[in-house]
């Protein structure tokens, strides 16, 4: 069992955020498979979370954990943070350490570094890689796949850490039967995150973007209609999303046929409709809405009738 720490709340200004929203955000993270939530101690006090009473050594942040009976409890954060360049191996024996930085770790022989870290005799070793070089998720996952026990990150990669949702999905895909989290909570988590941070998530953001299951190209639509697994790494439902076939410049006959049936329109002029769709989308520089398809299908039908009766 690996430890997956979410530290999103330590990177946000939570002073003005409603306590109920934060509590719900935490509940959803636990359902999604996060095993520890790191939060500022001041926030834990405000949320009246139990577990730290009497512990005068509680530092700036603490961990919220969920026990098997579903009850939540606070634990002190006893990890010592240490920046790691990826070169000189730090002395971490018999200490509880969180290594940060190492943005360019994959540029070198990271497998050997991981082996050395695993043999370092640390009491606890958490990796919290920086995403400055767009490789944080890969570093976190490779660490876990190599035998590491703990990684930290943030939802949507907030504050340039590894994206928690990508790490969780990577762990699930690696070993689907052992993973117990329910990733369909990513949809409400994304909405909460946008509220808490005030930042919109890109529609094409890996795992949680709203548009990642939209399909337009004829080749992919053809495959997805035959078997969605052909062009989807995981089903949309797994992450609380849904598939949507859209019409555009790259559509093929299969897509047009599918959309005409969906809109209960005649398939008789599908070839002429496809030509018109491609032409219009090239001019507009975008896809067509269902309403626009309806109008276009009527247009083609009227043209065809005019040809017959004139």
């Amino acid at each position: 069992m690996v430890t997956i720490i979410d530290r999103t709340l330590t990177t946000l200004n939570t002073a003005r955020i409603d306590s109920q929203a934060i509590r719900h955000f935490c509940e959803l993270l636990f359902i999604g498979g996060v095993t520890r939530i790191e939060l500022p101690t001041s926030l834990a006090v405000r949320l009246k979370l139990s577990g730290l009473s009497g512990n005068t050594d509680a530092g700036e942040s603490c961990f919220l954990v969920q026990k098997q009976n579903g009850r939540q409890q606070l634990l002190p954060n006893d990890l010592i943070e240490q920046n790691f360049s990826g070169h000189a191996l730090p002395d971490i024996a018999r200490r509880k350490i969180r290594l940060t930085g190492m943005a360019d770790l994959l540029q070198g022989d990271y497998a050997t570094i991981f082996e050395q870290l695993l043999c370092s005799d640390a009491d606890a070793l958490d990796l919290c890689p920086s995403n400055r070089q767009y490789c944080a998720t890969a570093i976190a996952l490779e660490w876990l796949f190599a035998g590491g026990h703990s990684v930290s990150g943030t939802f949507a990669g907030h504050a340039n850490f590894a994206c928690l949702e990508e790490v969780l999905m990577g762990v699930k895909l690696k070993n689907p039967t052992a993973f117990t989290g329910d990733l369909s909570v990513f949809r409400p988590l994304r909405i909460y995150y946008e509220q808490l941070s005030g930042l919109p998530v890109s529609p094409t953001k890996a795992v949680i973007g709203t548009d990642i299951f939209k399909v337009e190209s004829g080749i992919h639509v053809d495959g997805v209609l035959k078997n969605p697994a052909t062009y989807e790494p995981f089903s949309p439902e797994t992450v609380g999303n849904q598939r949507k076939i859209v019409l555009g410049k790259h559509s093929g006959l299969q897509s047009v046929r599918y959309k005409l049936r969906e809109q209960q329109l005649s398939e008789a002029s599908e070839k002429s409709i496809l030509e018109l769709i491609k032409e219009r989308c090239s001019q507009l520089g975008r896809t067509l809405s269902d309403l626009e398809l309806y109008a276009l299908a009527r247009e083609v039908k009227n043209d065809d009738q005019a040809k017959i009766y004139c």
Binding site: L106, Y134, C135, G170, I212, G223, H250
Partner: protein
């Protein structure tokens, strides 16, 4: 430390444009290709001529505009697609070969043996026109490794100059890419094509380049199907001082800022600029 020379294959105009909501006009395609050519991109995958007349016109104009980059036409495994590509003057004819049993069975509804026969027919067609052939193994990440080796041997025998290894659904990790590439026979240049479904497109591309791949497939702003492809800017940032693609990061950033308006479909509000997060 020696800086290794590698090469960029930009597929903004093919796989990038397949991103739902993005449709470039002819002028936009030519402007993007021209910018890529000036920056030093070695190969530009300019589209799929089989899509129709407009795509072929764009191809012809791109071919006339680009001075240094070699222009790739993307094809499915069929005569019609390849004939179209041959007629619009592409330098390189790329044939996409689905390699996982899932795609061969569910999409093509072929046997492995029939797939290899089709590959040979396509290669003959390309060679008889005197063009360079490159072969792409679609969904190589989910393919049987022994079959990938067999397909690679066939590609070498058929005279393909480059083999594209595609992580079509973006599920590989740096270590699985390394293991895959280590198994591939030598005798053909390797090109890596990654997707960002798990946020690892850049990391996986770096791993492939470190494991011997010569070409890296990228797109501007990382556009592409689902969560996109390997983002050229991010790849350059991550490999500064380690790999040389013959492209200057500051020049790319400048040109991207000029081109960015063409990458933002009107349906998306300005609150969601491409590349955010």
């Amino acid at each position: 430390m020696t800086i290794k020379q590698k090469y960029i294959v930009d597929t903004t105009l093919r796989d990038g444009e397949q991103s739902p909501g993005i449709a470039f006009t002819l002028n936009q395609k030519v402007a993007i290709a021209s910018a890529l050519d000036s920056m030093g991109v070695s190969r530009i995958e300019a589209g799929t001529p089989a899509m129709g007349k407009a795509e072929c016109q764009a191809f012809e104009q791109i071919k006339r505009t680009c001075r240094r980059a070699r222009i790739i036409a993307w094809n499915r495994m069929n005569r019609e697609d390849i004939n179209r590509s041959l007629s619009c003057g592409a330098d390189i004819i790329h044939v996409c070969v689905p390699s996982s049993d899932l795609l061969i069975r569910e999409k093509l509804r072929l046997s492995r043996a029939a797939l290899i026969e089709k590959m040979a027919v396509c290669a003959d067609l390309v060679h008889s026109a005197g063009k360079e052939l490159t072969i792409g193994l679609e969904d190589a990440s989910r393919a049987d490794r022994d079959f990938v080796v067999l397909l690679t041997q066939s590609a070498i025998k058929l005279g393909a100059t480059t083999l594209r290894i595609s992580d079509t659904v973006g599920i590989m990790s740096p270590s699985t890419i390394k293991a895959c590439l280590n198994q591939i026979p030598t005798g053909i240049a390797i090109e890596i094509h990654t997707h960002n479904d798990l946020g690892m497109a850049v990391a996986n591309t770096i791993s492939a380049l470190r494991s011997g791949a010569k070409y890296a497939d990228v797109t501007l702003f990382g556009i592409g199907e689902r969560a996109g492809n390997c983002n050229l800017e991010h790849l350059l940032i991550a490999t500064q001082g380690q790999l040389d693609f013959g492209i200057r990061l500051d020049e790319l950033q400048l040109r991207q800022s000029v081109l960015s308006a063409q990458f933002r479909p009107p349906s998306r509000s300005s609150r969601h600029p491409i590349g955010l997060l």
